[in-house]
């Protein structure tokens, strides 16, 4: 499971540096393991928040859910893998991946979303769902079912009996920086403000001189670019295979809905809540339990507040 991969960094699997045995029954004490789990949850949250942001941006602006979002990340991961394997230094490969998925976002919008913009939501879900299975099948045909890895090992950072892999720390930092940049863009630039305005009143945008189609294209490119960025961070931590999207796709939707679909700030906070459930729950019991508890929490919240913790679009 995805969380498995995330929560077990290679150097420690139950035994810490000094050889102290980790309590096998996993009782939940306020000890160093607990703190380590909390901090790892925080690191995980950065990545999940980045993924949720892309999806929320698209939904907030275009009013369509890209069910295939995780598969765009998968495409990006393959792109980066082959670019790197083909000789590109990692940073260049990452840029190629970002551009590739941004372009894929535009293509997705033009070919698939635009024809169904005024259709019923169920039809929009079905077409983007179709793209999900198409991308999975195409990736299986093109790349096979083997697990691939870019083969970059960054080691880990150790302090006070705790261990954090550098790949996760970098992921967290880059994700946070990207979100900050996007926020600045949306709050300062003309295009950014138009993107927010269009989510509030579509019909009068021509009166402002805004070409709605162009804003949709830009938004799709940004949404794709964010997926590409997430891909370039994820290849540092995870093996790549055609079905990898299934491991985290549902998790991102859950986060988006929990935070209020289309509400970017809500999604950000929800990512931290869910990550802590997964990380701490996983540390107290077992990794699968962390995931189960997070979903349980999600279901309870949705029963009580169907619009999500923080309401709708913002």
């Amino acid at each position: 499971m995805f969380t498995d991969l995330i929560l077990r960094s290679p150097p420690q699997a139950g035994v810490s540096k000094d050889g102290r045995e980790r309590n096998a029954s996993m009782d939940c004490q306020l000890d160093i393991f607990f703190l380590e789990a909390v901090l790892n949850g925080l690191l995980l949250a950065g990545l999940l928040a980045l993924l949720a942001l892309g999806l929320n941006l698209i939904f907030g602006v275009i009013d369509v859910v890209w069910i295939c979002y995780a598969e765009l990340v998968m495409v990006g991961m393959y792109g980066i893998y082959y670019a790197h394997k083909g000789g590109a230094p990692f940073i260049l490969a990452a840029v190629i991946g970002i551009v590739l998925v941004a372009a894929a976002g535009i293509v997705l919008h033009q070919l698939v979303i635009r024809p169904v913009l005024d259709s019923a939501p169920i039809n929009q879900l079905l077409v983007t769902g179709g793209v999900l299975f198409f991308l999975q099948a195409a990736a299986t045909m093109a790349f096979g079912i083997d697990f691939r890895n870019v083969g970059i090992r960054l080691g880990s950072f150790n302090a006070f009996d705790m261990s954090f892999s550098y790949s996760r720390i970098i992921t967290f930092g880059v994700a946070l920086a990207a979100m900050l940049l996007l926020w600045l863009f949306l709050s300062r630039s003309y295009i950014g403000i138009a993107i927010r305005a269009i989510a509030q009143d579509r019909q009068i945008m021509p009166l402002m001189g805004v070409d709605q189609r162009r804003i949709y294209m830009i938004t799709s490119a940004i949404g794709g670019g964010l997926a590409g960025l997430a891909a370039s961070l994820m290849v540092l931590q995870f093996d790549i295979y055609p079905q990898i999207g299934l491991q985290f796709g549902p998790l991102i939707f859950m986060i988006c809905v929990l935070g209020g679909l289309g509400n970017m700030l809500g999604g950000f906070i929800a990512a931290f809540i869910i990550s802590e459930f997964i990380a701490v729950g996983g540390s107290c019991f077992a990794t699968e339990w962390g995931y189960a508890i997070a979903f349980l929490f999600f279901m309870v919240v949705i029963f009580i507040r169907p619009q999500g913790l923080f309401g709708g679009k913002s």
């Binding site: 003309y190 403000i193 927010r196 305005a197 009068i204 021509p206 009166l207 402002m208 001189g209 070409d211």
Partner: protein, 234 residues
């Protein structure tokens, strides 16, 4: 400045405007009056491109509006303050004004025009960081007008600026319209508040179920028995 000739328009199978011809000359304030459902809003929507005309010709300073894509009409010098104000409620006042200056020609003059509208409406300057949705009705109307001015228009289309406002505020809004006229903008205003709008307009057209039924100077229309009976309750 603005010329309409034999314009037809409608919604799906329903025709809302029939052969409308009118002109607005530079510097004029022209009113369009008519009952609910007469087609006043439809007429403004056709001019600003929100609704395509189905027949006729329409030009702004010689440029064919029917051949101009909707989002480019603002660049011909037409700004439309829509019915119900339609501010972006979850953007600040200042960001609403910024969106009003979205077109490239207006972006360059943003700071200058912002200073100008803040001088015209000091209340907006006080409230510039506030979310537009939390403004009072009168303030929202100011903001909507200011947003339209940010594009640097020659002609301002106003759709029932007094709608939904208390009588005291209505008087203030008409005063606002008089002031923007004084600033040299040409105004085409749609109103149900016939008595007051005829006081600030130079000329007026009467629209009835999609057809222009009368036109003339504002004073002439205000003196006509027919209009006094039907629209001014006298």
């Amino acid at each position: 400045m603005l010329e309409l000739s034999n314009i037809d328009a409608g919604y799906g199978g329903f025709q809302a405007l029939f052969g409308v011809s009118m002109t607005v000359k530079a510097g004029e304030a022209v009113a369009v009056i008519g009952a609910n459902g007469a087609g006043k809003t439809t007429l403004l929507r056709v001019i600003s491109g929100l609704l395509p005309a189905t027949a006729g010709t329409m030009t702004m300073e010689g440029v064919s509006l029917r051949a101009t894509p909707p989002h480019k009409i603002i660049s011909t010098g037409i700004a439309h303050v829509p019915e119900g104000r339609r501010l972006f409620p979850r953007l600040s006042v200042e960001n609403n004004l910024k969106i009003g200056a979205f077109i490239p020609a207006a972006r360059q003059k943003f700071a200058e025009r912002l200073a100008f509208v803040y001088e015209l409406f000091p209340r907006l300057k006080e409230r510039r960081a506030q979310l537009a949705g939390t403004l009072s009705g009168g303030e929202q109307q100011m903001c909507a007008i200011a947003r339209a001015l940010m594009s640097g228009p020659k002609l301002v289309l106003l759709d029932e600026p007094s709608m939904g406002l208390a009588p005291v505020i209505v008087a203030q809004v008409f005063d606002l319209v008089r002031r923007i006229r004084g600033e040299g903008y040409t105004v085409l205003i749609v109103e149900q508040n016939v008595r007051q709008v005829l006081r600030i307009a130079d000329r007026a057209y009467l629209l009835e179920v999609g057809r222009l039924k009368a036109s003339g100077s504002a004073a002439e229309l205000a003196a006509s028995d027919e209009i006094r009976k039907a629209y001014m309750g006298i």
